[in-house]
Symmetry: C2
Subunit: 427 residues, 2 copies
């Protein structure tokens, strides 16, 4: 072992990066965790910030506060621009460099528009807290603009919400949006009936929640329809612009289109100089290191990993945490001169919430729907949320929301006028 | 009375505008409340959002939710550009117009840089929730940048915070900043000692909290110094740029300068076409109407009103609420063919908080300092906060903060890189 301890640099403070950092607490290493923000984000509840149910600080905690007692870990707020694999150095956008002995790349994924980058302006995606506040502003402003609008067709377009993508995020957004329209905003407007809002969930594939068994997908679809969501499957979106969305042969005028369809790996992967998979992720060795660069590990959504049966490891929080811990174990093994363990994904199941008292749960042979699934989802999310204070605050918000049908964070932040697409800014 | 009820248009959903709207609930009028945002803001606690103690939604509530049961009130989210007093029409920035029979102008004040508009980029002020999130980002990022910085002088500048203006907002910001540096962030950094941060409070006049009796000002100053704030009075700030502030003969390198010094009336006042006072406010008649335009009232920070002894009515929440109710009473009297009552300001006293267990209270002959004043301040602010859920959430945050020394909302939102002044963006 060298005189100065081995330096592990971890890029990204999400589930993979943070769990890797924590699992190195007792290892004979110095750890530097780099993240462009100052916080760890509990992404499974991000849609609740987007739909005004929770405040941004409820689902995030400062990384350096989480790691305050881990003396071998230093947290730096830096945006990483590239990896210089030859010099073993991480290059930051401000020109600084950080040298590493081991690198853990866990910079995650961002939303992808499948070659339609012009859709990004019209259909925001949901990956960061800033994305969530942007979507919240768009949703709340749409009802405000409908109230101020005199032309019936224009008003109708403000009251039409199209969500592209029928995965868990799309289902959660759609279910919550109808609840906001039918319950939260009821009786608060004088000129419009917010309950008449149209919420569409557009999925290109044959069914929603494709990662669940077919029976649960069918159940989720029925639940969404019962709540008032129009579900369309089997038709890809053809076009998105400031005024609406084209799907199949139909053009749907909608001033609010939300993107929950695709993700792509962080562009940092490209700077590694190794072949990537179709989604831009890094194919890794059984111990999650990179072929030809054993000192570099990739964890979380950025890693392309298969299960023994050939199915990919899904991009969910439990998988990212497991990969983070695996990478730490591999580094510890290498330092001890032992062979690194192989990564084995333990599938703890799959949860998705649909709306009030409606969720689907798939845990091995256990399949739950309805109220029981919803309580299960609720308890699991409170349990896994980091920070005692956040748990209390989220429980308070949820209890209050349940009884009042109100949302705790119905506040428009940022410049709402700036969101209006240029073509329509002048009335 | 006309067949269609008389239309009262109220511009601004702050304390004056909201209290005017509510006081017209039983009047034979239609009320339209216009605000550029969707929420009423509890401004007295805005500094707590700026210093990461509370979330933005904790101190704000949607205007249309507050007014949901007032059937004669319509809320519209519109930005007002000008008043056409001849046509009796409010002109919005989107080209729409709203005709009025009575107009209540309550668009408040914004921060003013006394002719130094270039200071605005370097020394943000605190009036809106977006301002508060911007200041929160600046404060939290400064400690992050100090930790990443290797040059001792540059690090020192990141750890120096200068607050310009020794009124209640400046005192609250300074007192909270030292608490954050000494307690909240203690033991969370590896390279810097956040407790070594320097917090300066710069006041051009002879004493801090000039609206309080001299003995309480002196007490507040002593308290601030005991907490660790460097208080400088009697020296106006000469210059502010990206790297620091000049005060008296000194240049103080400081990467974070906050502006709590001056306010100016909303520029809407200028479109009324009447003479304004030096701060841009509208001198009003005894019933708060505008001379020569009896159908226009001005309330809140936008109105220039003197007390019988010649002292101005202060720009505080209780005064704004009283003016709002006065304007509603005047409109009701006019509609009933009676003379409008004269406005009389009832001074309920003056509170300012300094830090943990330290505040000053001045209520007539009653003067409190220390822990008792602090409990009084705390109780009053919880009591006046709108919304049961907000009260609970704020109490939870405060109780937790008191025991843990932690701040509930230590989350950087928005693009921190964009805040860095251009001259220094490249290291």
């Amino acid at each position: 072992m060298p005189a100065t301890p081995c330096h592990v640099v971890i890029v990204g403070g999400g589930f993979a990066g943070l769990w890797a950092t924590r699992a190195l607490a007792a290892a004979p290493v110095r750890v530097t965790l780099l993240d462009r923000g100052n916080h760890h984000l509990f992404q499974p509840l991000l849609y609740q910030v987007a739909t005004a149910g929770l405040s941004a600080p409820d689902i995030a905690a400062p990384l350096r506060h989480i790691l305050r007692r881990q003396r071998n870990a230093t947290v730096l707020m830096e945006t990483v621009a590239a990896i210089d694999t030859r010099a073993r150095r991480v290059l930051c956008t401000n020109g600084r460099g950080v040298d590493y002995d081991f690198l853990v790349l866990a910079s995650g994924a961002t939303h992808a528009y499948f070659g339609h980058d012009d859709w990004a302006d019209h259909a925001p995606g949901l990956k960061t807290l800033d994305d969530a506040l942007h979507i919240r502003r768009r949703i709340l402003s749409a009802f405000e603009r409908a109230e101020a609008e005199h032309d019936p067709a224009a008003r109708r377009a403000w009251l039409t919400f199209a969500i592209v993508g029928g995965g868990p995020t799309g289902v959660e957004l759609a279910g919550t949006l109808v609840e906001i329209a039918r319950h939260t905003l009821a009786r608060e407007f004088r000129r419009i009936d917010p309950g008449a809002a149209r919420v569409l969930l557009l999925e290109a594939g044959p069914r929603v929640l494709a990662s669940f068994p077919e029976a649960l997908s069918a159940h989720a679809r029925a639940q969404l329809q019962r709540l008032g969501v129009e579900v369309r499957t089997g038709q890809p979106v053809q076009a998105i612009d400031a005024d609406g969305v084209c799907v199949g042969a139909d053009r749907i005028p909608a001033r609010t289109v939300l993107w929950a369809a695709g993700v792509a790996a962080s562009p940092l992967a490209r700077t590694l100089g190794v072949p990537l998979d179709r989604a831009g992720r890094v194919p890794v060795q059984p111990d999650l290191s990179v072929a030809g660069a054993p000192e570099i590990f990739v964890a979380g959504d950025l890693a392309s990993v298969q299960r023994p049966d050939g199915r990919p490891v899904p991009g969910v929080a439990p998988a990212a945490k497991q990969m983070g811990r695996q990478v730490a174990a591999a580094i510890r093994a290498r330092l001890a001169g032992k062979p690194a363990p192989r990564f084995r994904y333990r599938d703890f199941g799959n949860l998705a919430t649909i709306g009030r008292m409606a969720a689907v749960v798939h845990l091995g042979r256990l399949r739950l729907t309805g109220a029981l699934a919803w309580w299960f989802w609720l308890t699991a999310h409170i349990y896994f949320l980091i920070g005692f204070r956040n748990r209390l605050s989220v429980m308070l918000s949820w209890t209050w929301a349940y009884w009042s049908y109100q949302r705790a964070a119905r506040i428009i932040l940022g410049d709402a006028a700036a969101d209006q697409p240029r073509s329509t800014r002048q009335a």
